[in-house]
């Protein structure tokens, strides 16, 4: 009768076994303590039962060695769990260097995905098997959370910042994709399916779907022209704004002396609130593009800016992140998980 009930989720990413092993370890530890204490409680309650209510218990007041023992042992066990957990956590939040980049926005009540090649989909996400994929996303309205149980990954989508998850799928098939942060009426309808495909099938799917508007990079370039970004951001650095060649992934100094690493969040901020973190040596001339370009457009522009730090700019761009991997956030709103730079998507 119980055979039809799932008791354990499918492991479909490289992260899943890591999380599950940790889970089983904690399960074993907690089961041990739960059974030990329950057994003692039941044993004592039965063995020392007295239904007259007139006897008194033994005059025992306590034992310092025992107290110290059962403070230290749980603490040491907790330390082991803590260390292991932290190791797994950093695995979950730190994507490898080369990832397939997918962008997404959450909006009540759907997930939109955009592949670098330009393919778009709603409440469905096609990814290739065996290749690290990084999904960068934000929200257009309230809080959401992108959650794929089979991959054991999850992160909140917060309006105004970027979050990301990464995974390498290990099993073809269809998996649930949920919104895990309550977002109003149809929260439970903000779900979708992740399709893990053989790399060849994925390539076929990418080209099959009839892409409109070209790749994200091409769309970004187009926007870059349309919005007249080119008038100031000249490639030779003589414009009124800084040149964007090779800037992605580098560290720049701001007008107030702080430094910031140019990542997705910083580029986004610079487009929408250009006055907030001005690069040193430039005048606050840039107007805001809030309302002129939507989240998808911003993501395309980011892909384009990334492409400007392609092979020729990579060496320089990589210096900062390699020197201080996972450096603490310079600016808090930039989204703390988003502090690494992967260089350019291939």
């Amino acid at each position: 009768m119980l055979s039809g009930i799932p008791l354990f989720p499918e492991q479909a990413s490289t992260l899943a076994p890591a999380v599950d092993n940790l889970y089983f370890f904690i399960l074993a530890v907690t089961a041990f303590f739960a059974l030990l204490v329950s057994a003692l409680v039941i044993y004592f309650a039965i063995k020392y039962r007295d239904d007259t209510g007139l006897k008194v218990g033994a005059p025992i007041t306590g034992s310092v060695p025992l107290e110290i023992g059962w403070s230290i042992i749980p603490f040491l066990v907790a330390i082991v769990i803590f260390v292991w957990s932290t190791v797994v956590f950093f695995q979950i939040i730190r994507p490898p260097d080369q990832t397939l980049e997918i962008y997404s926005t959450g909006k009540r009540w759907m997930w939109r995905f955009q592949h670098a090649d330009g393919q778009r989909e709603i409440n469905a996400l096609h990814v290739p098997l065996g290749r690290p994929v990084k999904v960068t996303f934000t929200s257009e309205d309230v809080l959401h959370d992108l959650y794929i149980p089979a991959f054991r990954v999850k992160a909140d989508a917060i309006p105004g910042r970027y979050s990301s998850i990464w995974f390498t799928a290990t099993k073809t098939g269809e998996y649930h994709l949920f919104c895990a942060e309550y977002c109003g009426t149809r929260h439970s309808g903000m779900i979708g399916t992740v399709y893990v495909m053989e790399p060849n099938d994925y390539q076929a799917w990418l080209t099959d779907g009839g892409i409109t508007g070209g790749s994200m990079q091409a769309r970004g370039e187009q926007l870059f022209q349309q919005l007249a970004c080119t008038t100031c951001h000249l490639t030779n650095g003589t414009g009124r704004g800084p040149s964007l060649s090779g800037v992605f992934g580098s560290t720049v100094t701001l007008s107030d002396g702080r430094t910031v690493t140019v990542d997705e969040s910083y580029v986004r901020e610079s487009i929408l609130t250009p006055q907030m973190k001005l690069v040193a040596g430039y005048q606050p001339l840039m107007p805001t593009f809030q309302g002129l370009v939507n989240e998808e457009g911003v993501m395309s522009l980011i892909e384009y800016v990334k492409s400007l730090s392609g092979s020729e700019g990579t060496a320089q761009a990589r210096v900062a992140p390699d020197a201080a991997p996972g450096a603490a956030p310079v600016a808090a709103p930039a989204g703390a998980i988003e502090q690494r730079n992967e260089g350019r998507t291939q």
Binding site: F33, F44, I81, T185, H187, S188
Partner: protein, 538 residues
């Protein structure tokens, strides 16, 4: 053993019987009873919402109510249970009843403020009832912006105001208790002779005083943002919705300790009495309460592990969360050791304690999963978390409340209840609770997110099990309500000390005199000196 003079026919219940004498009373015992009435009412509300939620979740398709209604159900369930049941249950009901008695005092330090707290609480509750009648609120009890400030079409402002107002009731109760414990102890009642329930209430007061004002101001900011359009958490202006989460959990995590510390104190009392033994490691249990209260303020961001906080601060908060687990473990081990070589009297309060031990154990240990950074990414905001905190809040706090209530009931009302029914009720609640919430751990690890009206069909079997368990749980609680109500009016007279327990509260008559004691008692020994006393057959 003190011989009692013939009980006075006048007690706090019958000294005056007009409605005004209740509504204007400054007697801590009457105020405690008045809290019990309001809290029981709120509990019934919350329970009805819970029943509807479980009924809805028996099918995956969301057939019973609309999504909007479902969202209102779980929100109102959370608001009613957290702010109007769990937080006031033990401190405001049992604390008010018992604390001055245990201290040998005539009343709390500020009786008028105590009455004021009750009125504030009722006004806060009425705002919440208004929000409910007007159409409910659908933000979840956590009120996260920007949904609560901009997106939600429901009555967030009225509910927020209700919670804000009720917060002051909690603050004033904490203040009152803290001053009472410092200044109103009977002669000879030194700190280390205090019953552990007093220590627990002291630690709770600390949390109420330091934490509740922060959530009050946070909810006020949220209220002003929604009503007047202020922009403190508005991402469109550059505001940070996550700041709200920090401020909210700075209170609301310690609030868990407001809920669980006083029941832990009650558990210590009951265990000592029904094991006829001193609580093992008295000072360790006492200080573990304070340690929990203090450490409790340093762990709030473990609710934000996937909310984009820096991974390094996540590490710190995870570590501190494991640190706070240690004093809770110490308490559990000490309770277990107290049973060793006791003379364990199987009476109803003890049955509730045994139930508490089992459920709190599971609740506490599953906290090790949620505190783990690596596992929490997967289980955050899933049914695993729902199950975990219900084990703590219902399995721990409510079971502890019932243990204390059954223990002190004869003192409060002067009457006994049916011990067999009470033990049966404890068993039903224990079984029903496990049936309801254990499957939710599995659902959570499978990946079912919380606050889902509809869910994928493969989760149905476990959900049906959970709903079936909820029915058993409902029967258990209803039974308690019935026999306790019967006992209040028709129960057999209890006598001053039916459990032959130690503690000053048992030296006065049941129900106590309006001024508690004929003359101020003088204390000459520590708490729980069962081994020194000779218990004679009456």
């Amino acid at each position: 053993m003190t011989t009692l003079a013939a009980p006075s026919p006048v007690n706090y219940l019958n000294v005056k019987t007009t409605v005004a004498s209740w509504l204007l009373t400054k007697d801590h015992k009457r105020i405690g009873l008045m809290y019990m009435i309001v809290v029981t009412f709120a509990f019934l509300f919350g329970a009805v919402f819970a029943a509807l939620i479980r009924l809805e979740l028996t099918t995956p398709g969301g057939d019973l109510v609309s999504s909007d209604t479902y969202n209102r159900l779980f929100t109102m369930h959370g608001v009613a249970m957290v702010f109007f049941v769990l937080i006031p249950a033990v401190p405001a009901i049992l604390g008010n009843m018992i604390l001055p008695l245990q201290l040998g005092a005539k009343d709390v330090a500020f009786p008028k403020i105590n009455l004021l707290s009750w009125y504030i609480f009722v006004v806060g509750f009425l705002f919440t009832i208004y929000a409910l009648v007007a159409g409910g609120v659908d933000t979840g009890w956590t009120f996260y912006p920007p949904y609560s400030t901009q997106g939600s079409p429901s009555h967030v402002a009225a509910t927020g105001l209700g919670v804000f107002i009720a917060g002051f009731s909690s603050i004033l109760t904490g203040l009152n208790f803290m001053v009472t414990i410092h200044r109103m102890r009977a002669p000879g009642l030194t700190w280390f002779r205090l019953p552990l329930f007093v220590w627990a209430l002291y630690a709770t007061s600390l949390v109420q005083i330091l934490g509740t004002p922060v959530v009050a101001i946070t909810v006020l900011m949220l209220f002003l943002e929604r009503v007047a359009g202020l922009g403190i958490f508005n991402p469109a202006l550059g505001g940070d919705p996550v700041l709200f989460q920090h401020l909210f959990w700075f209170y609301s995590h310690p609030a868990v300790y407001i809920m669980i510390l006083p029941p832990m104190g009650a558990i210590s009392e009951v265990i000592a009495c029904f094991s006829r033994k001193q609580v093992f490691g008295y000072s360790f249990v006492a200080f573990s309460s304070l340690a929990i209260a203090v450490f409790g303020f340093l762990v709030w961001a473990h609710h934000l592990f996937v909310a984009g906080i820096s991974p390094y601060s996540a590490m710190v908060f995870s570590f501190l969360t494991y640190a706070v687990a240690v004093p809770s473990a110490v308490k559990t081990f000490n309770w277990t050791a107290t049973l060793y070589r006791g003379a364990i009297w199987w009476k109803a309060p003890m049955m509730w304690v045994l139930g508490f031990m089992g459920l709190f154990l599971v609740g506490g240990l599953t906290g090790l999963f949620t505190a783990s950074l690596g596992v929490d990414v997967h289980i955050h905001d899933t049914y695993f978390v729902v199950a975990h905190f219900h084990y703590i809040m219902v399995g721990g706090a409510i079971m502890g409340y019932f243990a204390g209530l059954h223990y002190w009931w004869p003192k409060m009302t002067g009457r006994m209840y049916n011990d067999m029914l009470a033990s049966l009720s404890a068993l039903l609640v224990f079984v029903g609770f496990n049936l309801t919430f254990f499957p939710q751990f599995i659902l959570g690890y499978l990946g079912m997110p919380r606050r889902y009206h509809m869910y994928p069909p493969e989760f149905q079997v476990l959900n049906v099990m959970s709903s079936a368990g909820a029915m058993v749980l409902g029967v258990g609680y209803s039974l308690t309500l019935i026999y306790l109500t019967y006992s209040f009016f028709k129960g057999a007279p209890a006598g001053a000390n039916p459990w032959l327990a130690t503690g000053l509260e048992w030296t006065t008559q049941s129900p106590p005199l309006p001024e508690n004691f004929r003359e101020t008692p003088v204390v000459t020994e520590g708490a729980y000196e069962y081994s020194k006393r000779e218990i004679k057959v009456a």
